[in-house]
Assembly symmetry: C2
Homo-oligomer: 172 residues x 2
């Protein structure tokens, strides 16, 4: 059973030509290997478990690392924004922020005009902690995209941006 075999029969995007929702191709016609969400799940599950394993040495959880990564490129964010950008549920994010604050990696400042909202920023210590992990993360990215040139990488992330916009538009 070779799932990497080329079995593309050109029917994945049949809807674009026909616009006929009743005439859907089957999963067998598309082939698992041409069903993009399946491939993305395979890849991202490996990426995430690899990161989780690497993080053990750095005494950071996936949630903490993601939070620091997002904050390292942001002026300040609310917990809602952080939860979306770091792809971490709000309840987990809340606990993660408590712990990061204890470690001195983040700071929470009530907003002057609405004290219920707190702006989260990264501290220098937080930047340093993320900086220690970054080479490991970056080198994994390099291995992941081995043999893929800049043009292909740009096209790939370009398609990912279109999908993200579709997700918002259609509220998928």
């Amino acid at each position: 059973m070779d799932f990497m075999a080329e079995r593309f029969s050109g029917v994945v995007l049949r809807w674009h030509q026909e616009g006929d929702q009743e005439n859907r191709p089957t999963m067998g016609e598309i082939g698992l290997n041409h069903f993009a969400p399946y491939l993305m799940n395979r890849i991202i599950s490996r990426w995430n478990s690899n990161m989780a394993e690497e993080l053990r040495e750095y005494e950071l959880s996936t949630a903490k690392m993601r939070t620091l990564a997002v904050l390292s490129v942001s002026a300040s964010l609310t917990i809602n924004e952080l939860s979306i950008f770091a792809v971490i549920e709000q309840s987990t994010m809340s606990r993660t922020l408590d712990s990061l604050e204890e470690q001195g990696y983040i700071r929470r400042t009530p907003r002057a005009e609405d004290m219920r909202i707190r702006d989260v920023t990264i501290t220098e210590e937080g930047r340093t902690a993320f900086g220690r992990f970054w080479p490991t993360m970056y080198d994994s990215l390099v291995r992941m995209f081995d043999g893929i040139d800049e043009e292909e990488y740009r096209a790939f992330t370009g398609t990912l941006h279109k999908i993200l916009l579709n997700i918002r538009k259609h509220e998928i």
Copy 2:
């Protein structure tokens, strides 16, 4: 804060030009929005939670749906293979198969030459159960790739295949 802003500065793939592992760009230089695993995590987490919500109506779990999807395009698979292809941990997969067998959706047959190995196949009832859910899944795929033509879809899945091969090669 607009994460969708174009901030690509052409440094993501610096290693290809320079091969200098000590001269890594920072996360800030790359920009979160050009860090592919981040974008993929955002997308696939939405896809998975959307599927999980839709599945409630069909009395199927994500693990069951994935198992049926993979079996629907396979002659037969072992639990190890199923676990990899369905992206479900072995312990969960074992419970999932017990339950699917009770529902009459799959069959497990000990292999003649090695009775410890059991080949898992889908039953007609299992095919029907997956077939009921398939239109929902397919229509989500259509919305996800709205405005993306066949050529772009092929290029996108082509890059995903390269990444999957890199993951095997580098054991990421």
